[in-house]
């Protein structure tokens, strides 16, 4: 199969990129392992703060629907329920539907594989009932299943607070946040206030000493300073932060740099959201963990850069659109996370000096 552009990942960044390119007449194919579009937006029921200026305020799943709908009028090839398994010698992408493997030859590829949650380990964290906060959120908002009755949350990021509030709303008794640091990680004062109002304790300088249970978690010991608190719980949600998903970049031979604020190792890319493999662009959390609004703008930027690279739009038009989007990106990112914006710029400046390169040369 041949296509102008292959987008790997149908999350917010991938869909935003698809819109930019399809609306300029390019032949676009989108592949995603899930059968629904919108990626992790689908289980976000909270209102997404700070979307780009062209968007109205809306909730995560509404944004997923909006992004999907704006592609309706274009002839895009969707490979949903399909996944990339690797690459052929000639650079074609190997895609499977679990029945067969077929090759897709694309002029340009945008990799928008998003982020994965990092684990938090403690004795018996392998017990059923211990899951990531994203998993718990998926259970309640996508599959409509209550994953437990009494829960604790390990972590205190925005993401953890959202998950706790949503769990409470569906009737899960959240018995506390367990934060290993000395302060709450979230900077969303409104949400912190909300949590406090609900009487959910936030334990700082604390960690799970041990989980216990026969077939699933039944009880945990929380070490808080010199004190040990025992809680009966059947759900432990862990938030170890998120990191870009890199395996496809790795297989493509892209280089990597390290920026803690962007989630650790990030593919090396320039101002065009282009990796050091010229035909490979990237967008979204894969280019550094950020907020939903930013992810959309990175998708648009990647899309426009690809349009320019294949000659679908002139440089003048591209420059105009890019100037506008970069300004928007700066506003959105510096508003909540100026340190991420700085790290992103540092990362792009390092383009010519990646830390990990030529990983297949022994």
């Amino acid at each position: 199969m041949e296509t102008d552009i292959l987008i790997i990942g149908a999350g917010p960044a991938g869909l935003a990129a698809a819109f930019e390119m399809a609306s300029k007449g390019l032949d676009v194919t989108i592949v995603d392992e899930s059968i629904t579009m919108g990626g992790q937006l689908n289980q976000q029921t909270q209102v997404i703060p700070s979307l780009p200026s062209s968007f109205q305020s809306m909730r995560g799943f509404e944004l997923a629907a909006h992004l999907t709908k704006q592609l309706e009028e274009y002839d895009i090839r969707y490979l949903l329920g399909h996944r990339v398994i690797g690459f052929y010698k000639d650079g074609s992408v190997g895609i499977t539907d679990e029945q067969d493997v077929f090759a897709v030859k694309a002029k340009k590829i945008i990799v928008a594989t998003g982020a994965a949650e990092n684990a938090v380990a403690f004795p018996k964290w392998t017990l059923p009932g211990v899951m990531t906060i994203g998993a718990a959120q998926t259970m309640i908002n996508r599959d409509f299943v209550q994953p437990g009755k009494e829960a604790v949350i390990v972590g205190s990021s925005d993401f953890a607070l959202d998950a706790a509030l949503q769990l409470s709303e569906v009737g899960v008794h959240v018995k506390g946040f367990i934060e290993k640091n000395a302060g709450i990680l979230s900077r969303d004062l409104e949400k912190i206030e909300q949590v406090k109002k609900m009487g959910i304790p936030i334990y700082l300088d604390s960690f799970i000493k041990e989980a216990r249970g026969m077939g699933a978690v039944e009880e945990i010991e929380i070490e808080i300073g010199t004190r040990v608190l025992t809680e009966k719980v059947d759900l432990v949600c862990v938030d170890g932060g998120r990191s870009p998903i890199l395996d496809i970049f790795y297989q493509l031979g892209c280089s990597f740099g390290y920026q803690k604020e962007l989630g650790g190792w990030v593919p090396q890319y320039n101002h065009q959201f282009q990796t050091d493999r010229q035909d490979i662009f990237l967008a979204g959390n894969a280019a550094g963990i950020s907020t939903q609004g930013v992810l959309l703008v990175t998708g648009m930027l990647a899309g426009i850069n690809v349009c320019e690279a294949v000659g679908a739009i002139t440089k003048t038009i591209a420059d105009e659109e890019k100037d506008f989007l970069w300004k928007e990106l700066e506003i959105l990112e510096t508003k909540y996370n100026p340190n991420i914006w700085e790290a992103r710029n540092r990362h792009m400046e390092n383009f010519a000096h990646p830390v990990i390169k030529e990983q297949f040369l022994s």
């Binding site: 909730r59 392998t126 017990l127 059923p128 899951m131 409509f144 209550q146 709303e169």
Partner: protein, 107 residues
């Protein structure tokens, strides 16, 4: 427990299906994944670890960790967080390494 009335999304569970876990029928809804449907029925242990024989269940829901491996409709090691329920689906625990099965090969 199934969430029949979601505070924001309202009632979304419309099409019930029957799935069979260890040959016993359980109620699930069409849009749910196998692992989620089992969790709604309070089945959290989906398998046993290979070396220390410890219980394993849903962890990442993204098809990454493989902790939710089960045998579904005769196929071993299915990532049940990635597969939707179907009417009559037969689901078994992942308690030991799979056998290779000659009957599948048609020879």
């Amino acid at each position: 427990m199934h969430i029949q009335h979601h505070p924001i999304l309202g009632g979304q569970l419309h099409k019930p299906v029957t799935i069979y876990f260890n040959d016993q029928p359980y109620k699930a809804y069409e849009q749910q994944t196998v692992a989620a449907a089992l969790m709604a029925n309070d089945i959290k242990r989906l398998g046993l670890s290979r070396n220390l024989v410890q219980p394993r269940g849903l962890f990442c829901t993204r098809g990454r960790c493989c902790s939710c491996y089960m045998t579904v409709n005769g196929e071993d090691h299915v990532r049940t967080c990635m597969v939707k329920v179907e009417e009559g689906m037969k689901i078994y625990l992942n308690d030991e390494d799979p056998d290779v099965r000659r009957e599948f090969c048609g020879d």
